[in-house]
């Protein structure tokens, strides 16, 4: 079966090369059948990648240790769901996932534009297949998922315990979907510029693709944040880690593009800017993939001495050079049709929004790549930390939230100052009220957080006002009751009102970020059983220790051989709040040199953080039990001495003795407690953003053109038509 997998890859790359040739030949010689054959090559590629992926999944599920990737990432005791996810736990498997998702999303995109944008789609097909060919080439040349070892090992190394977290099932597929979807607009951008057809239909299609990339990348980023929040030592939900930043950069470019695209649609402006953004999206997505695999930047994410850096650098160089060439050589096609009518207009607000997003992207890019930049310029590698990032991103984020409230209430093309002020009056009052309320509640010392709350209140009020007014207008004109009118309003204007929902989500998310980062309390006490500590009004009492042995009894179902933890009783003002059960899991290292008992717990240790969440606050607890306490070490050493390595059942009994000793003579344990206000609003905000994005991406129902008596308003005369199909 490994040969089937490699065969599928080989067939895949042949299909890619054929498809590139057929598409370009077809479009250059004006032969539809070759263009169609090229397009169908993408479907055929998807079939080969599904086959290759299936071979690897079957190998994992059937414990075929002959496959190197299976032996490295799975074991008999690895739970089933983690076996499925183990495909993307390795370099080789994650490249295969990338190629599969790229082929699937490309197939969907080309299917959706079937019969339209013939020439653009042909070049886009060639570009998409070129990217897939690159990833398959990486697998065949550097990291083949189907390499085998003979004789096969009798057992696998198991999935790294750090990856045994439910989010492992979904975070990488979402991130990779986001990255691969960023390549689709890139490819269609290349096609549009080569053919010099940057037109309305292209814009319509680009908007959907960009929105899809934005949605998936956003989901992946939030899932990663949630995962990071639930692990010890990963920097909380956001640590400005290089790989986190790398996923955020194309998302920022996509956000800017979704907004500035509307300006091009309505006014024929910002064509060069939009083309640049589309190319930036794709390039940044590839850069993100590159960062994780090249080892060029330090991060909590995985790298090593992987050799994929050079091919990626060549690809990124080609993408940048090609993008610049296309934009410069097609600047005649990208000339703006109009100019900005007024600074007080939605166009201006969107332009400012784009500048803020570009500023954010520049700051994050600079900070992320600073170690390389500083080494190139000064010869010494240096890095900047979270305080530096926060210094620049926080003010920019404040402006962004403010603009998310201003944009909706200002008209396209032009707005009068008096009109704008009248529309902004209520949101401004709400912002002031929020400010007063927050300060009145005794919140002090964090002016930026207070400003963020005020701006978020402003944005929420502005959007609520839009919904209210729009519903009222529709109710009046259709005679419907408000709930029905609201649904009708959203149905007919999905883009606008879906976008407004996204703005609500953004405001909620930033409320959560501001509150949790500015007003977090954290302590790291060492506690004996029975001791307690106070934090932010909560009392955390260490009631008793916990211990469990063998994968079967592991409460977190992650395959830990030994799990030591604590029962923490939380009270506030004498009243019971909750019980937290943090623990640390110890895993098998597979190293016989650590001893028969030692190797069972000598591998990766993973903290299982305890979380209690309400909309008002999160209680977060982690424990680091002293596994090296003398009373436990004594038992471990005796066990290593007495039990040979090939008797794991007896070694497990020694572990049980260690567990029992831990419960009887519990050493002091180190704890980490955090009380963070309103963290849940980050996840709620993200969910709202997702809903808004999904509403915005679906097409509105076809508006029936009604025959109405419409005269074109002065000064132009009616051109021989008294009745028109222009809808009212």
């Amino acid at each position: 079966m490994p040969s089937l997998g490699t065969g599928a890859l080989l067939l895949g790359i042949v299909v890619c090369l054929y498809g590139i040739g057929a598409s370009i030949y077809g479009v250059r010689t004006d032969q539809d059948r070759w263009i169609e054959s090229g397009r169908r090559s993408v479907y055929a590629l998807a079939v080969t990648m599904i086959c290759a992926f299936a071979v690897l999944e079957v190998a994992l599920l059937s414990n075929d240790w002959a496959f190197n990737t299976v032996a490295d990432t799975s074991s008999v005791t690895t739970p089933l769901l983690y076996k499925v996810a183990a495909v993307w736990a390795s370099q080789e498997g994650s490249l295969l996932l990338w190629a599969l998702l790229s082929a699937l999303w490309s197939s969907l995109a080309l299917f959706l534009v079937k019969g339209r944008m013939r020439e653009i789609a042909a070049y886009a097909t060639a570009v998409l297949l070129a990217f897939d060919a690159f990833f398959i080439f990486l697998m065949l040349g550097y990291a083949n998922p189907f390499n085998t070892t003979h004789p096969a090992p009798v057992e696998g190394a198991g999935l790294d315990p750090l990856l045994r977290f439910p989010t492992m099932m979904i975070h990488p597929p979402m991130i990779y979907s986001g990255y691969t979807l960023c390549i689709v607009p890139f490819a269609f951008g290349v096609g549009a510029l080569i053919t010099r057809k940057v037109d309305a239909e292209w814009l319509k299609v680009m908007r959907r693709f960009a929105l899809a990339a934005w949605i998936f990348l956003g989901i992946g980023i939030v899932l990663g944040a949630r995962w990071s929040y639930s692990e010890l030592g990963w920097g909380g939900y956001w640590g400005w880690d290089a790989v986190e930043n790398a996923a955020l950069l194309p998302w920022l470019a996509a956000t800017a593009f979704i907004h500035s695209l509307m300006i091009q649609e309505k006014r024929g402006m910002l064509k060069v800017w939009n083309a640049s953004l589309v190319f930036a999206m794709g390039t940044l997505a590839i850069m993100g993939t590159f960062l994780v695999r090249s080892g060029i930047l330090d991060s909590i994410h995985a790298f090593g001495g992987a050799t994929l850096g050079v091919p990626f650098v060549i690809l990124i160089g080609a993408m940048i050079a090609g993008s610049i060439y296309l934009v410069v050589s097609r600047r005649d096609v990208l000339r703006s049709e109009h100019q900005l009518d007024s600074l007080l207009s939605r166009e201006s607000a969107f332009l400012l929004n784009n500048l803020v997003l570009a500023g954010l992207a520049f700051v994050i890019f600079w900070g992320t790549f600073f170690p390389i930049i500083s080494e190139a310029l000064t010869g010494r590698e240096a890095s900047v930390g979270s305080p530096w990032f926060d210094r620049y991103t926080v003010p920019l984020a404040l402006v962004l939230v403010l603009l998310s409230g201003i944009g909706p209430v200002i008209a396209w093309r032009r707005a009068t100052f008096a009109n704008a002020l009248r529309n902004l009056r209520a949101p401004i009052l709400v912002a002031l009220a929020v400010c007063v309320a927050v300060l009145g509640a005794g919140v002090s010392g964090k002016p930026l957080a207070v400003v963020m709350f005020a701006f978020a209140g402003f944005a929420l009020a502005a959007v609520a006002q839009e919904y209210w007014r729009g519903t009222r207008v529709r109710a009046r004109s259709t005679g419907q009751r408000p709930p029905r009118a609201l649904l009708g309003l959203m149905r007919r204007n999905r883009r606008r009102y879906g976008g407004y929902i996204v703005h609500i989500g953004i405001a909620a998310l930033f409320i959560g970020v501001a509150a949790s980062s500015s007003f977090q309390h954290s302590v790291e006490p060492r506690l004996k059983v029975g001791q307690k500590i106070k934090i932010d009004g909560y009392t955390m009492r260490y009631v008793r220790p916990t211990a469990s042995v063998t994968p079967k009894y592991d409460a977190a179902h992650t395959g830990a051989t030994l799990s030591l933890g604590a029962v923490i009783r939380v009270t506030k003002g004498g009243k019971y709040v909750t019980t937290l059960l943090p623990a640390e899991g110890f895993y098998d290292s597979g190293e016989p040199s650590q001893g028969s008992v030692g190797h069972l717990i000598g591998g990766q240790a993973v903290s299982h953080v305890a979380l209690n969440s309400t909309p008002f606050r999160d209680l977060w607890a982690a424990v680091a039990p002293e596994i090296t306490a003398p009373q436990l070490e004594r038992i471990l050493k005796a066990g290593n001495k007495a039990i040979p390595v090939n008797r794991p059942e007896e070694a497990m009994i020694v572990l049980a003795l260690m567990g029992r000793e831990y419960l009887k003579n519990t050493p002091v344990a180190e704890f980490h407690f955090e009380v963070s206000p309103m963290v849940m609003w980050i996840w709620i905000g993200a969910l709202i953003i997702l809903c808004g994005g999904l509403i915005a991406i679906f097409p509105s129902p076809r508006v029936l053109a009604r025959r109405v008596s419409v005269s074109v308003r002065k000064p132009a005369p009616v051109r021989g038509r008294e009745r028109d199909q222009v809808p009212a």
């Binding site: 790294d160 900047v384 530096w388």
Partner: protein, 138 residues
């Protein structure tokens, strides 16, 4: 003022603001940055009292826990020079001998004291170039 002139003024103002902000950003990044340094560089160049971002690999068998204090040695990725580090604070889950770490240290006497909660450990190399043959059971 004619529209073309207005547009030129807007462009100049915007560009000036962008250049000013970018310059501030670039300047502060150089002044706020912590230089990354390997153990061999630290041994030769470290000035007492100054902070350095030490990066290297945890020496096998060097990890010792003394209550809340963690002591370990960090060696060059490729090379044998190692420095002893005394650290208190949060120990990330991936921390283990043989793993690559980044920790902010300052020299005090002959010791290097790790800044509290500054220890970062890179995840074990899932994107390694060679398979972990040693961990496979035959």
């Amino acid at each position: 003022m004619n529209p073309a002139r207005k547009r030129t003024i807007r462009l100049v103002v915007a560009l000036t603001a962008a250049v000013t902000l970018a310059s501030a950003l670039i300047y502060t990044s150089f002044s706020a940055a912590s230089p990354a340094i390997s153990p061999s560089q630290l041994i030769h160049d470290a000035v007492p009292g100054r902070s350095y971002q030490l990066t290297g690999t945890v020496v096998t068998g060097s990890i010792r826990h003394y209550g809340e204090v963690l002591e370990f040695q960090v060696k060059d990725r490729a090379g044998e020079d190692a420095v002893p580090v005394r650290y208190t604070g949060e120990v990330p889950d991936p921390f283990h001998e043989g793993r690559e770490v980044i920790v902010t240290v300052s020299k005090q006497g002959s010791q290097y004291i790790g800044e509290r909660n500054s220890l970062i450990t890179k995840c074990p190399s899932k994107y390694k170039s060679a398979p972990p043959a040693a961990t496979r059971k035959y």
